[in-house]
């Protein structure tokens, strides 16, 4: 328990840093997506792509651009990882098999970064830097673009225009992600993260064995990995690897980076819709869920009665000693709450309830604060659902930010919420029925059940973290999980953009005393409650057979 105080202080330090950045970054992002002026480099890109940056798009056109862009990205990435042996700096790596290449390509384009391959063992520098790192930027920028389009839909009245996808994509990359990750890559370098194009270092150990320790473009990828809530590690061990995450303070910095943009986007939202208090309200709902989960996981990891852990003093199995229990918990909660999916500890080794909470974090739908952009629009779907039920209870047909929630809005929002549970439930049901998949589990019983459940939850939520234990590189799992990632990413995007359009076309209903206030503590509580209730009701039976059964024996 002695670790508790410094651990909490570390957490508070990160929160303070986030609070400091909240307004400047949020305001800056709002400016980025509302200004009419273009940077010179952006103009060059638009000219190259034959894009008129001053023309706006309706939702269909916006969506078409987004889907085409993502499709081309998947194909390109597929080609790169399939043919990496002919690329420079391949380091002797051969191309991935078709099913693993499909899985990897979808994974990085959907901002999931599920890795069915082992980072340093399967991919060379060129594939990592040209293929994966580029998608780390672009997939994050796509997520932000969708969120911004929804903000515009809520902010605008009587128009069908939601902005220009290409402009949002370029600005998100050029003005937000690139500068921030450049700065933080340097900071990480200073912290000891490696960055080189050299061959693996060969080391003769004291025991006489020979080790080949690979380096690579790690720092540059590490910054955007967290900043863009991607999570795909350069090395298989991900952030547990000392080259990716050398010390306790780089660990905190990485947590800060994961949370930075999703948190600041609530400010951007507030600024763009012209009601900053609504930004705070969304952030508060996210915060309640986040802090409750963090407290739960820390409690579960520190206070446990089972024999071996009790003797050891705390649940340190599977955790890095340089981060400690709380540092690992902080990272684990943040990575599962933000759809990052990077790991600095084996989630499989968490106590059953702690591991269960990590699953619960993801089944909340990655909304607190969620992935870059996707967390924001995910939470807004919950806000719409909450306003629908709570709004009726004040005797008005429901409205959010002056926009009516009628049949078409309800259809789109509730379908967007349906996608993830449906994907996970159908996916796991099919997977458990397949003997070949059951053979991929490291163990039977509740823990094995959690392994597979975690995989589908992680994929459908575009989180990408792994529970460990599951041998995921089988053709069946590669294809199924790839499909889950694809559906989990793009179906909600389609629905969210359509929804944004129905909002943009509406007039704004002015606030009166009879309007449900959607920024007060009561409604913030309703949002958090609805998010929890919906996911708990959906996943309680599965959780009962997995982590809960394991915990209660």
């Amino acid at each position: 328990m002695a670790a508790l105080i410094p651990g909490i202080l570390q957490i508070l330090l990160v929160f303070a840093a986030l609070a400091l950045c909240y307004r400047p970054l949020g305001d800056y992002m709002a400016r980025v997506f509302t200004t009419t002026s273009h940077w010179r480099v952006e103009r060059a890109i638009y000219r190259l792509g034959g894009i008129n940056p001053d023309a706006e798009q309706g939702w269909r056109s916006y969506l078409r651009s987004l889907l085409w862009f993502s499709l081309v990205s998947i194909l390109l990435l597929y080609l790169i990882v399939r043919t990496q042996s002919v690329l420079p700096f391949a380091g002797g790596h051969t191309g991935l098999t078709p099913d693993q290449a499909w899985n990897t390509a979808v994974s990085f384009v959907t901002n999931t970064n599920w890795q069915s391959y082992s980072g340093e063992a399967a991919l060379g520098v060129s594939a990592q830097a040209v293929g994966l790192a580029v998608q780390n930027f672009l997939s994050a920028a796509v997520g932000i673009a969708v969120a911004v389009a929804l903000f515009r839909g809520l902010a605008r009245t009587e128009t069908s225009q939601l902005g220009n996808f290409w402009v949002d994509l370029v600005r998100g990359s050029v003005r937000i992600l690139l500068p921030l990750s450049t700065v933080f890559a340097v900071v990480l370098l200073a912290g000891g993260v490696v960055q080189n194009l050299a061959d693996p270092v060969t080391v003769h150990t004291l025991g006489g064995a020979v080790q080949h320790i690979p380096g690579g473009t790690v720092a540059s990828q590490e910054a955007i990995k967290n900043l863009g809530t991607n999570g795909g590690g350069y090395f298989n061990a991900n952030a547990a690897h000392p080259f990716e995450n050398p010390s306790a303070w780089t660990n905190l910095l990485q947590v800060f980076l994961m949370l930075l943009i999703p948190v600041a986007l609530t400010r951007t939202f507030g600024v763009m819709i012209g009601s900053k208090k609504h930004g705070y309200a969304i952030l508060s709902a996210m915060g309640i869920l986040y802090i409750a989960s963090l407290a739960g996981v820390i409690a579960s990891e520190l206070v446990n009665a089972s024999g071996a852990l009790h003797a050891a003093g705390s649940a340190l199995e599977g955790k890095e000693l340089r981060f400690g229990v709380i540092g690992s918990d902080f990272f684990a909660v943040s990575t599962t709450m933000t759809s990052t999916g990077a790991t600095d500890a084996a989630h499989s080794s968490f106590t059953p309830l702690g591991g269960g909470l990590l699953v619960l974090n993801m089944v909340l739908g990655e909304i607190s604060p969620g992935g870059v952009g996707s967390g924001m629009y995910g939470m807004l779907m919950i806000a719409i659902l909450s306003v629908f039920i709570a709004g009726l209870m004040v005797g008005r047909t429901p409205e959010y930010l002056g926009k009516k929630i009628g049949p078409s809005q309800m259809k789109l929002a509730s379908l967007a919420i349906l996608v993830m549970p449906a994907t996970v439930l159908i996916g796991t049901a099919v997977a458990f029925s397949l003997p070949s998949v059951r053979a991929s589990l490291s163990t039977s019983g509740p823990h094995g059940l959690t392994e597979l459940l975690y995989a589908f939850v992680s994929a459908a939520n575009n989180n990408g973290s792994a529970f460990a234990g599951l041998s995921a590189n089988t053709p069946v799992l590669n294809v199924m999980l790839g499909l889950a990632m694809l559906l989990g990413r793009f179906l909600p995007i389609i629905l969210v953009l359509a929804l944004a359009s129905t909002f943009a076309e509406q007039r704004r209903v002015p606030d009166t005393a009879g309007t449900l206030p959607t920024h007060r503590p009561l409604f913030i509580g309703v949002m958090a409650g609805v998010a929890l209730l919906v996911s708990a009701l959906t996943f309680l039976p599965a959780l009962a057979l997995g982590p809960i059964a394991e915990a209660l024996g």
Binding site: L385, F388, I389, A390, G391, L392, M393, V394, G395, R396, T397, P398, G402, I405, G406, P407, Q409, M410, K411, S414, I417, L418, P421, A422, L425, I426, T428, A429, F432, S433, S444, G445, P446, L449, R507, V509, P510, T512, A513, G514, T515, L516, P517, R520, L522, F523, V526, G529, L533, L537, T538, L540, P541, A544, L545, I548, A549, A551, L552, G553
Partner: protein, 710 residues
């Protein structure tokens, strides 16, 4: 539909009709009498059972997908119970059937409440024939159902008017109690705003020619019957949205159950299909799914009980959203007639002189205002009442053109009274000089919210002179400021519409406590105001009765036409108030809100219930495989079977328990939205979490008494 009889009138019909829609001058009393089903009683439930069973037809059930799924589950478990019978299997099967029947019962009871009223209305419709006039003016007797738009019919005293229409010739007194519940006969005459007659009402005196304005089957009476029966009920936008949410929840829970079996098999705890079906039914939102349509029907019924007919449920919903209320000043905010409240002489004229002239000029004036002047003068100056009216005085009634009335006494003296400008001009035209304070006094009266009537006299051979000003005041109805304060708390802005000038309007607006006013309003101004409000995103409600109100009524989101109004107004509005009480708008808004609150509250309750059901069913399902899960059995339920059965029984019984609430509606008190939400969340959200824990426990305790379940 029905074959008309040849009887022109039938006595029983009149009495049948008026028993169900009895008569009273007061709207509130009329509303009570109109309550077709009265307060909710268990007897209604029993009498609705056959209708509930008829609704088990899958072709009808499919319209409510949630309950259809329960019916499928019930049929499935029945088959399972037949294949491998056990007390548990049969228990589940029976209670699933009961769940469906209870849901149907809710709807049947709601529909039944309107049916009695519909039956009596239908009696009025079926027993009419019509005396149709052909082009040559000859009369032929045809069934009322054969009448088309633009047919002309003759209706004599004692006959029932065969269809909706406008009087084009003659005038008659009409008993409209069949439709309005109002016993006092009304006058209907050709031309003007009182020409509309409703089919099914009875002419008491005189003969009129009526031009039919509706096609068969679409008359006011037809619509009213369809409405109270809920036959033509279409789902409202909010109902559709809610149904979508319920469908999505149902799909999620269906997937949960489909997912559960593979997981259970992996965990070595394969579940029986009966248990899985039971869990599914417990989880899907059956409570709100069962009560949703009853809530809608009951909402319309509540309106009908208050004498309001809504064209569609959509209008009722819109009423809940109204944020701007346009109210006509006269008759709504103020008493219909203005009264004299002051006699203000100009300098140099005695009060008695003014009182005499004012009284004399009004003695022959039969308008309420004229009478009030006489009353006021006699009350304030008792000496005046002794003076008899000169027998051969000549009275010149008020004319819109001259804007004054006058009386010429036998002495030749002429006393005029009327609008300030006109009377002052008249005085000057007759060699008089206008005293300096005449206009000041008149302006002060206007500024105070009154209407100034200037009194002047012109004796032969003398210059005309101004005597003073009669102050006519609007009397604001009692309790108005409180009602507007209540509306304000609900977030509704009230705008008073009046033809008065700005100053007068302002004063009355201040006295009544409305938020805004539109003075010197023409029908066009009214329409423009509605458009302006709507462009700002507001939903506007208004009442109207005249033909010139029709465009505004049509434009408003909630347009309530007075039943005394013209056909054009009634066609344009989306509601008709049978009591013709313009303040009814406030009640309509409250009913709209109540409807929405009831939906939201029961949805919240329904979803919150699931938590307890999980705690009952999940440990029961898996405690054999994972004994540790017994810790989740926090209710301490007796056995897995009794736990699951208890959850299913609770799920069914809660429907029955909530039927009265669904029909009555959740109580609505005007208050700020945040407070309202807090209160309802506490009752239906937190209550919805806790109550099933208690309910399931109690049912489980009772079940343990049944041998064979243990």
């Amino acid at each position: 539909m029905t074959t008309p009889t040849t009887e022109t009138t039938s006595d029983p019909l009149g009495s049948t009709v008026s028993t169900s829609t009895t008569t009273s001058a007061k709207p509130s009393a009329a509303a009570t009498a109109r309550t077709s089903g009265g307060a909710f009683s268990p007897r209604q439930m029993v009498s609705s059972i056959p209708a509930a069973l008829r609704k088990l037809d899958p072709r009808i059930m499919i319209k409510t997908p949630v309950m259809f799924l329960v019916e499928v589950g019930a049929a499935f478990t029945t088959v399972m119970a037949i294949i491998s019978p056990s007390l548990f299997a049969w228990g589940i099967a029976i209670w699933l059937w009961l769940t469906v029947i209870f849901a149907n019962l809710a709807e049947a009871v709601a529909e039944g409440r309107g049916r009695a009223q519909a039956d009596s209305l239908r009696a009025a419709r079926t027993t009419t024939t019509a005396a149709r006039l052909d082009a040559g003016g000859h009369i032929e007797i045809v069934p009322a159902t054969a009448l088309r738009r633009d047919d002309r019919v003759r209706v004599r005293a004692g006959e029932v008017i065969p269809g909706d229409g406008d009087v084009i010739e003659g005038a008659a007194t009409v008993d409209e109690s069949a439709v309005t519940g109002e016993s006092a006969p009304v006058i209907r005459e050709s031309g003007g705003d009182r020409c509309a007659v409703t089919g099914g009402t009875r002419v008491l005196s005189d003969t009129i020619i009526v031009q039919i304005t509706s096609e068969p089957g679409e008359t006011f009476l037809d619509r009213m019957i369809a409405l109270v029966e809920g036959a033509t009920r279409q789902k409202t936008p909010n109902e559709i949205a809610l149904n979508i949410l319920l469908a999505v929840l149902t799909i999620i829970f269906l997937l949960v159950i489909l997912n559960l079996q593979p997981l259970a098999i992996f965990s070595g705890a394969r579940q029986s299909l009966i248990v899985l079906t039971a869990l599914l039914v417990c989880l899907i939102p059956t409570t709100i799914g069962a009560l949703l349509s009853a809530i809608g029907i009951a909402g319309m019924d509540r309106l009908v009980q208050r004498g309001v007919l809504a064209r569609s449920g959509r209008a009722v919903e819109a009423a809940g959203d109204v944020s701007t209320l346009l109210l006509d000043k006269t008759g709504t905010i103020t008493e219909g007639d203005r009264k004299a409240t002051g006699l203000l002489p100009v300098t140099g004229v005695s009060a008695d002189d003014l009182a005499r002239a004012a009284r004399l000029s009004s003695l022959a004036d039969e308008t309420p205002e004229g009478r009030s002047v006489v009353t006021y003068a006699e009350e304030q100056f008792p000496a005046q009442s002794a003076i008899a009216a000169p027998a051969d005085a000549e009275f010149v009634p008020f004319q819109a053109k001259t804007r004054m009335s006058a009386i010429v006494l036998p002495t030749g003296e002429k006393i005029v009274k009327g609008a300030t400008n006109e009377v002052l001009a008249w005085v000057e035209a007759h060699d008089g000089t206008v005293p300096a304070d005449a206009r000041t006094i008149a302006d002060e009266v206007s500024a105070g919210g009154g209407t100034a009537l200037v009194v002047a006299t012109h004796a032969p051979e003398m210059p005309a002179r101004v005597l003073g000003v009669i102050r006519l005041s609007d009397i604001v109805k009692a309790g108005m400021p409180e009602r507007f304060a209540r509306l304000r708390a609900m977030g509704i802005r009230t705008v008073m519409i009046t033809g008065d000038n700005r100053l007068t309007a302002q004063a009355i607006a201040a006295e009544a406590g409305v938020d805004d006013f539109l003075a010197e309003a023409t029908p066009e101004d009214k329409l423009a105001l509605i458009r302006r409000e709507q462009e700002g995103g507001h939903l506007v409600a208004m009442t109207g009765d005249g033909t010139n109100d029709a465009p505004a009524l049509a434009q408003a989101d909630v347009g309530v036409a007075m039943n005394t109004g013209t056909s054009a107004a009634k066609e344009a509005g989306n509601m008709v108030d049978l009591d013709s009480d313009p303040t009814k708008l406030i009640e309509i808004v409250e009913i709209g809100k109540q409807l929405l609150i009831t939906r939201g509250a029961l949805t919240t309750f329904s979803i919150a219930n699931d938590v307890a059901k999980y705690f009952a069913v999940i440990p029961a399902m898996f405690v054999a495989a994972f004994p540790g899960l017994a810790a989740l059995n926090i209710m301490g339920l007796h056995s897995p079977e009794s736990a699951i059965l208890s959850a299913v029984i609770f799920n069914a019984l809660v429907i029955i328990v909530l039927i009265p609430l669904a029909l009555r509606g959740v109580r609505y008190r005007p208050q700020a939205a945040a407070k309202l939400l807090g209160h309802n969340l506490l009752v239906f959200g937190v209550g919805g979490l806790i109550i099933p824990f208690l309910g399931i426990k109690v049912i489980d305790l009772i079940l343990t008494l049944i041998p064979g379940l243990n």
